[in-house]
């Protein structure tokens, strides 16, 4: 099975984080953006009772949908097919790309206009198309900027969040012919609009993600502000939507609460400019819209999360990004340090299923477990519990291993230390003897204790044990 590995060997996570925290300009960008997004979200949820009620509804809808996932996927497929939308199933990233490529080749496409889709990033779509000689180009402003810079998105909602307008101004002046340096944001957006407008009219295929797929009516819902998503799904002759299998909801009535939670949690907007609900290709007599609409349902490791009672909650995610906006670790290291398509808390818990725990377990340790993400998650995913579970999985011995890559973080030394620990703590005699030696020898404890003493004073055992102190008081 071929996999897109966005992740270099695991030690690199630490190196990348170190570089990121030592970059004051980038840290200022992220800090500013996080403060802004947190304040915007707070502004939407003044009424705490309403928030609590809506979150409970959102979580229940997602849990229920996941419990009925196979039935709902079958119903979705049946209704989409009846509506004339073709449904494809992909077990892996490579399968998904092969299906899309097959469609593009059949219709003789030379280019593909892309709306913002994190799933397309996850499967390495642009690369796969480029290898086949098809130009897949980004049309979301943030994605366009990131693509122009030859980078990857650093945030799932705001891809270019790591860049200042000065950097973007310089990038446009350098990369777009005939464009002079300007820091005026309106002017920069006008430039992007102009360039991309020319490309929409000539696009052969449009690609999009999906925010919610409604089983009962066979409807694909897309959330956006810019209108590029509508362009990609309306102007080209063929529309291909790619999505993870978890995005299905049973009924149309489940859409309003989830949509409200999504936009308010993500960017603090009560609603986005566009909510685009697609149920059919162009019908006889209609004058625009794609003649073919395809949906590619992608597993890529999601079924592994689904099979585990605790980890299934990972799939409740509606990709709002609030967990990263409130994460003290993400705010400091930024999105690129994670090395995965999905950064931040959601990235740490979902990436192991896509890339294997062996490639991603350090992310589970990149958390203080402060729980800020759990507090804001609109669908109440117990992110910290899942992080702890993944930490345990990373250390698991062969008998307990249940995920791809389980046990990858296991070291002989750590295992021996914990074995010793449990031995000492389960035998009173050994415990007394050990604690006596340690307290009496407290002066010998090392001054340098690795990472701990880099920014803290060294740990020193007390000269007397609690039991010694009690004995002294009594006598």
């Amino acid at each position: 099975m071929s996999q897109i590995i966005h992740f270099d060997p695991d030690q690199d996570f630490k190196a990348r984080s170190r570089t990121a925290v030592n970059d004051p300009a980038q840290r200022a960008n992220f800090r500013g953006a996080m403060d802004f997004l947190q304040a915007k979200r707070r502004g939407q949820f003044g009424d705490q009772d309403e928030l609590a009620g809506l979150r409970a509804i959102g979580a229940a809808i997602r849990q229920n949908s996941l419990a009925k996932l196979p039935e709902l996927l079958e119903l979705l497929e049946k209704n989409l097919t009846a509506n004339g939308i073709q449904v494809h199933w992909a077990e892996t990233a490579a399968d998904a790309n092969a299906i899309a490529l097959g469609i593009a080749r059949r219709v003789g496409a030379r280019n593909i206009a892309k709306g913002k889709s994190m799933v397309s990033e996850e499967i390495g779509f642009n690369h796969a198309m480029a290898d086949a000689g098809i130009d897949a180009f980004e049309t979301d402003m943030g994605e366009y900027i990131v693509e122009l810079a030859g980078e990857k998105p650093s945030h799932i909602i705001m891809p270019a969040i790591h860049k200042t307008k000065q950097q973007i101004a310089a990038l446009f002046a350098e990369k777009i012919p005939g464009v002079a340096y300007t820091e005026d944001v309106d002017a920069l957006i006008r430039i992007g609009r102009q360039v991309l407008r020319g490309k929409f009219a000539g696009a052969d295929v449009g690609l999009s993600g999906v925010n919610f797929a409604v089983a009962e009516t066979g409807t694909l819902c897309l959330v956006e502000n810019e209108g590029n998503g509508r362009m990609c799904t309306t102007v080209p002759d063929v529309h291909i939507a790619v999505t993870g299998i978890e995005k299905v909801v049973e009924k149309l009535e489940h859409v309003p609460p989830l949509y409200s939670l999504l936009t308010r949690s993500a960017t603090g907007q009560s609603i986005t400019t566009y909510f685009n609900m697609i149920s059919r290709p162009r019908q006889e007599g209609e004058k625009d819209g794609p003649r073919e609409v395809h949906l590619i349902l992608i597993d890529n490791g999601r079924s592994q999360a689904h099979a585990d009672e605790q980890l299934r909650a990972t799939l409740q995610c509606i990709r709002c990004g609030a967990c990263m906006n409130h994460c003290p670790v993400y705010a400091r290291i930024g999105g690129h340090a994670y090395g995965t398509t999905y950064p931040g808390p959601i990235g740490a818990i979902v990436s192991p299923h896509m890339l294997g725990l062996n490639a991603t377990y350090p992310l589970a340790f990149a958390s203080t477990l402060c729980g800020a993400c759990v507090e804001v998650c609109p669908v109440k995913i117990p992110i910290t519990d899942i992080l702890i579970r993944l930490r345990n999985e990373a250390q698991a011995g062969e008998e307990q291993a249940s995920l791809r890559g389980s046990g990858a973080g296991r070291s002989a030394l750590a295992t021996a230390i914990w074995k010793g620990w449990s031995l000492i703590y389960s035998r009173l005699g050994i415990y007394r003897l050990t604690s006596w030696f340690i307290s009496r020898g407290h002066k010998l404890s090392p001054v340098s204790q690795g990472a701990w003493t880099k920014c803290r004073t060294a740990l020193k055992p007390a000269p007397k044990r609690l039991r010694d102190l009690i004995r002294e008081r009594r006598s």
Binding site: L73, T217, V235, K251, T267
Partner: protein, 219 residues
Amino acid sequence: MSARERILGRLRTPGTAPEMPDVAGWYRARQRNETTPERITRLRAVLESVHAEVHETTDWPALLLQIATSKGLNNLLIGDNTPHGEHLASLAADKLTLIRYSEPIDGWRNRLFDEVDASLTLARSAIAETGTLILWPDASEPRTMSLVPPIHFALLDVNKIHADFDAAMRTENWQAGMPTNALLISGPSKTADIQQTLAYGAHGPRELVVLLCHTGVLS
């Protein structure tokens, strides 16, 4: 075994689904029972907060022609044989060039992108809570009309404003049959992708002009 069967097979696990929440009840309990004027006020306030231009009128064709002149529009795209479009046509005469969307996009894609200044469509209904217009584009008023031209005029009958999205779907019984494309539009297109600075006119219309019609769209 196909990929489909393998995926579905992996997902089939025993167990019972937790109960579905009472979504209808939640929204019902939050209804405000507003009058039409109250809904208009709410809709206006939210739409204007996201830079939409909103007018209340009892004579929309006159108002539209006046706005078109003040904006210096060369032309206006109208639907193919719609009652409101023809009504406007009967009054526009030499005041404004009207283009009818009478051919499929395939034959005039580039002209649509490059030459059309503005468009006029009907909004099916609206949502007060979020300042949202609901459009169900069809053969006579296609999807690209509210997307490609830089200025979009939308007509709305003030008696068709719902309290929230849930009420709109339920009252209009959407689940009985969805159109090819249903759209919620809440303002002109925008982006905050450059340093969180809001800019209007991303890829869709730069301006959204909402004409709230007090006496229906045909009088």
